[in-house]
Symmetry: C2
Subunit: 226 residues, 2 copies
Amino acid sequence: MEEQFSQVASLIGDPVRAKILWALMDKRAYTATELAVYADTTPQNISMHLNKLVKADLLAVESQGRHKYYNYSRPEIAYAIEALASLLPKEEPKTAYTADEKPIRFCRSCYDHLAGKVGVTLTEALLKQAYIIKDADSFSVTAEGETWFDQFGINLEELKKQKRYFAKPCLDWSERKHHLAGALGAGLLNRMIEDGWVRRVNNSRAIIVTGKGEQRMMEHLKISLK
Amino acid sequence: MEEQFSQVASLIGDPVRAKILWALMDKRAYTATELAVYADTTPQNISMHLNKLVKADLLAVESQGRHKYYNYSRPEIAYAIEALASLLPKEEPKTAYTADEKPIRFCRSCYDHLAGKVGVTLTEALLKQAYIIKDADSFSVTAEGETWFDQFGINLEELKKQKRYFAKPCLDWSERKHHLAGALGAGLLNRMIEDGWVRRVNNSRAIIVTGKGEQRMMEHLKISLK
DNA sequence: TTCACACTTAATTCTAAAATGAAGTATCGA
DNA sequence: TCGATACTTCATTTTAGAATTAAGTGTGAA
């Protein structure tokens, strides 16, 4: 028992791994390379450390193409890190915990669904309104959700027929949080473009939210984009 | 910041130090030698580790003659240890956390005041009834306490004149918790012997509680010795 | 299909810090 | 006052595991 306890603690205690765990405190996922830069070490080294953390079930990985996004594997990890941090000889709080909020990131479309700040916020709103719920590895639509999507002009039956994931959580590269991908995500984006909520910027992947869109999001989902 | 975080974590992460911190989870103080035995290492080594923990303000020391008793320096330490323990891959709880309660330890007098199980229980009861309160480094008697001690036949003014600490917290070697020492502790023991609450066993240091004593303790201080 | 990129793996080197050995010092009990 | 005990200090050795070197593999874009 103390054996395992000691193992977990020493796992956290290495300087590089401590930095990794510290960086992840902001609840966003980071790639191996980013963490290497942050911890000021080489890719090989960070790879080794990340592996140890994953094996010990302190971190979870999510592969996205040639990237790997790392995150806490479960909420207890964050609690433990905070408990440890509370032991630090406390100095002036200074600017700590002030402006975590970065300038609003651009709204981009990830392949064909809606990602970026807007995509994440939208997904969180859908979850909050209980129109969708997140299971282990996918989203599913609730009864209320079915009504809502229907009203919005989205045919769920149609989408389900498509040869692709229906509603898959996708990790956004700028927000580092999950957003709605798969057929449902794409359908939502299409419908929003059709209805003039958002607009593509001159053929690029970038997306901007229209005034109407902002208004409607507030009406339908109580979303304020600030 | 991460620097300090890493330092604290690696401090906890060493196998020997992890064992020390683990042992202290039961909220009792241990001596260096005991911890050395527990952690299966040498006195020199445990001394080195204990020093590191004290310097980092994770542990506090209390010297008692040639012994040194170690304990967490503040409650946050216990929280952090528990938070870390909660990360362990959980196996069967088995017999863990079952019978922490050891067979009742013998009631001994520590120099001339009352120590052991009874001394600690008594002190805790006095605190609970708010007859005494514990400050930084000593006990002091409250207004209600003055009345109570007076009724019990203890002259506080008399005791205060003595050339010794009036009411000092003393760490008991078997219970590993603080109990009342100094003039007040001695006075209390004397009065209890006089009044037949407790009796010395054939000139040894051992003390036994009489039937009358048990009854009176319940009456006066709501103490049940089990 | 080819290159660059993101990340891995394995073998080797390096190093911080844990353990040991050989002195101490302070306290208690006889 | 004289051990025995509890703990410390310092100089030296040992070692676990972090970092490095030198290959890889798999993915995406041109």
